[in-house]
Symmetry: C2
């Protein structure tokens, strides 16, 4: 940022005009190419006319759909619903051309709709001309097509999800053509990750190619499923909490001050001044509690200006946050959160079995295990478990990421659960607003929760007394003036409360046993990526 | 922003140290005052001891709740649930001291829990000492207190929501004390807006005082209700769409390029470069459609760097966005959105009647009316209606805000609905990606939706063909290079689709008939406000 904007703009201007020129040349070429294609099409149509094309009007590329015709009588069947019970019926279907293979006087194609595929056949016969077969075989992969077809039973087709039927196509039209050269093929991007990857010549698509071409990548069955599971996690989170009396709130992302000192915060230019992007909705959740909403949750973007290039960090992610007033003990809140996770895991298992299966077909993993009620361990127990395994942690040390991973394995071996709560962290490793445990010097009323050995929630009883908050901030050498607004939030009476923040993409990644958080963020943001 | 940061920092440092000094002095005073209060309390307790206080242990300010005791046997009753059927029972209750009034040997107080209030009485008797009454009468307003009390039936108490019972208090403890001087009183902030505001000496609380002290302001019954209705709008939006097969997605807020030219966009410093805050999730919703998700919605923050200081503009608001592939006509989408609104309005009416009533008690308004199915007018019909009322609009002009307001009144008078769809806007007034209506030169396949005469949704069929998109962008003099990523999203086959973006706070404001959008944003952001 800063002073040299005019030059930059000028340079950008030059670049832009050069690029614009190139672009125009390119466009001109494209338009020429298109004109040629259309001419070819016309000539094919001409040929057809010359050769008395018996299929005229039954194939082609109609005008772009601009909402002229309602076709109210035309009912579409979904690929998912094709089965031998409707054999003999004539149906309409809109899908993508997944693959095609011309073979003499016939063309086999695979039609795909979301995660489902079916085989289609266009073959020269009394009603179908060779021009029509040629047209079908020239449709580019990933184009969207409308077909009218007769459903026929067939011997097992291994390459499709609908194995017992195929479609004998009577009409075929291109609704939206894909360009001929694709940066990746759905087939390649969908290929299962196998244990023995060394064998075979299978093309793999690397992560950056996937993310650069996310629109194509997202069309794989696994991705179609991952983002449905993700929608499920959010829905279950909200539904479970709403049923428990929580109120959904929305907290601002643009904030005037970075509450915890300003490290790792993005700066925003705000009219003539500047502002920050919120690292968490915590202050606002707590204000909602101080404002008598009693139990609140919020789902929204959270920003971290951390230059971490790992499998589990994003610079922007979705926070599932909750905060709850309690009567006497923060375990009232820990139990509520624990129950919530149990209900989310049950909901996923019961309502998203097909999606979980679709993901595991590409990315094999052990099914997620959990206990009901969930396992709660105290920090000292974790230290003992690690000590038994030969890892020494001091009573006031935090766990490193490898410690957490190992602990996850030890807990899984001992208790057979992929989810557990780790309670009573050392006070020294938690933020200043964490309530100390008065009975146990050096520990605090705080907790993390883990899935498959990785942290997915961090939370605590918060200090609700302004004077004590000041005392604790001083211990942490925090400038009281900078957190004045936060402290003042507790001067008008505030119930004791606790809560936590959950990384949504981490929950989905770990539940499905995926290896990278970029797989569970539809358009991930990291220090090196802000496109597409 | 810019070059003079070191000086600023130094100056800030100085200011900070001065402030810190002041603060320390202030703190010292406060601590002294607190010590004095505690000394007084002790002396009261001493007096009590001297005078054989029969209520020792039944009142006071216990230690801050730090989760030592679980009090598992103590069940709390909610103020809302107090009624004559439980007369005679002894209950525990946690609430705020709304008001109190000492009167000889007794103290009347009103206890408040969220939107509900009940009268309490502490009176000297066999079990209750005058020291205890004095303690009760000294509790500051808005403090959170625990009381044990006998429920008694009573003649109508007009000043409370629970009119037929009062509480005879046996024990009373302060859980969290509010400071003595409050910047606003809940009573004042809750006072109904009356038609004849001239009469009386009622204290009113102005908007800025409310927003500066939002924690207190949010405690009014109307605000408790407004944000529950808001949660309801979001829940209904999601539930209705989920039932219709929509998938929830999350779109990035940090983006690399401002898709519509860069006006009104906030800039973010992003590591060594810069980025922008998304003005809408539109590109991403459309990419999800191109990626075969078929029907998607997203709920999230949307940013507008517009220096608009009006009753209906925010710089950050919650967008309820949806996008949907259709088969042949965008009215498939318009009908879906229309049905969705009908279901939201029905859901609010049926499930949030108490909240709607609570809001209208402070802010009286005509109940919201709607038709099922909703009214759809075309733009030329709107022009005719306005012409009949003496307002002339050209066929290619947009409607001004006053035109819209007037039109809302005319539509209400003619059709008795506060919600309607205005379809087929002039092409000239819509963004470049809007699909023109091929049968009707100059019009487009686009629509706005209105509540009480204000726009709450804007939407359209989007152009899904990359070449046509380029053609239209050129007509709008848009630099094609700058929207390359957007155009490229349609090169791999994309179904025809339409959608819309809804301003969540506007829907709540207009449904409830409120006069300012700041009333429906919990922590509103405008060009002049980014705190609290």
């Amino acid at each position: 940022m800063g002073g040299n904007k005019p030059e930059e703009a000028a340079r950008e201007g030059e670049d832009a005009s050069k690029k614009a020129l190139k672009k125009q040349q390119k466009d001109a070429k494209k338009i020429a190419a298109k004109a040629e294609r259309q001419a070819q099409l016309q000539s094919v149509q001409q040929d057809a006319a010359n050769e008395e094309d018996i299929s005229v009007g039954k194939y082609g590329q109609p005008a772009m759909i601009q909402s002229v015709d309602k076709h109210k009588d035309r009912k579409f069947t979904h690929v998912q619903d094709l089965n031998p019970n409707i054999a003999g019926q004539i149906i309409w279907l809109r899908g993508r051309l997944h693959t095609s293979r011309a073979k003499g006087k016939q063309c086999f194609l695979i039609l795909r709709e979301q995660s489902y595929t079916v085989q289609g056949l266009v073959a020269v016969n009394d009603e179908i001309s060779k021009q029509m077969v040629k047209f079908a075989s020239n449709i580019t992969k990933e184009s969207i097509i409308d077909v009218e077809a007769t459903v026929k039973t067939v011997a097992k087709i291994e390459s499709c999800t609908q194995r017992d039927v195929e479609l004998h196509i009577k009409q075929i039209f291109t609704v939206s053509a894909a360009k001929a050269q694709l940066p990746l093929l759905i087939e390649d991007a969908s290929r299962p990750v196998k244990a023995e990857e060394s064998e075979g010549l299978n093309i793999k698509v690397n992560q950056d190619t996937r993310l650069d071409n996310r629109i194509l990548d997202l069309r794989t069955p696994a991705n179609q499923a991952i983002f449905r599971v993700e929608a499920g996690v959010c829905k279950l989170f909200r539904d479970v909490l709403t049923k428990k009396g929580f109120v959904e709130i929305h907290t601002p992302k643009i904030i005037s001050a970075a509450s915890e000192g300003g490290a790792n915060v993005f700066t925003v230019s705000y009219f003539k001044g500047s502002a920050y992007l919120a690292q968490s909705p915590q202050l606002y959740k707590q204000m909602a509690i101080a404002a008598d909403f009693d139990k609140v949750f919020t789902v929204g973007a959270v920003f971290r200006a951390e230059d971490s290039n790992t499998h589990r960090h994003l610079t922007e992610f979705v926070g599932l946050d909750l905060e709850m007033a309690f009567k006497y003990h923060y375990h009232e809140v820990v139990e509520t959160i624990g129950q919530m996770f149990t209900e989310i895991f049950k909901g996923l298992r019961d309502q998203y079995a097909a999606e979980i299966k679709a993901v595991s077909e590409q990315f094999p993993v052990e099914p997620f295990t959990f206990l009901d009620p969930p396992l709660r361990l105290e920090f000292h127990q974790a230290i003992s478990l690690l000590a038994e395994a030969g890892v020494t942690i001091g009573p006031e040390d935090d766990l490193s990421t490898p410690d957490e991973k190992l602990l996850g394995k030890l807990v899984k071996a001992k208790y057979d659960t992929d989810f557990y709560i780790l309670d009573k962290y050392p006070l020294a490793v938690r933020p200043f607003y964490t309530m100390p445990d008065p009975r146990n010097n050096g520990t605090s009323n705080s907790y993390d929760m883990f899935m498959r050995g990785e942290e997915i929630l961090s939370g605590a009883q918060r200090i609700h007394d302004p004077d004590f908050l000041i005392e604790r901030a001083k211990v942490h050498n925090i400038d009281i003036e900078k957190i004045k607004a936060y402290i003042d939030a507790f001067r008008f009476g505030c119930p004791p409360h606790a809560g936590g923040g959950i990384g949504m993409e981490r929950v989905v990644m770990l539940y499905l046993g995926l290896d990278n958080i970029r797989k569970t963020s539809m358009f991930p943001r990291d220090p090196k990526r802000i496109t597409p």
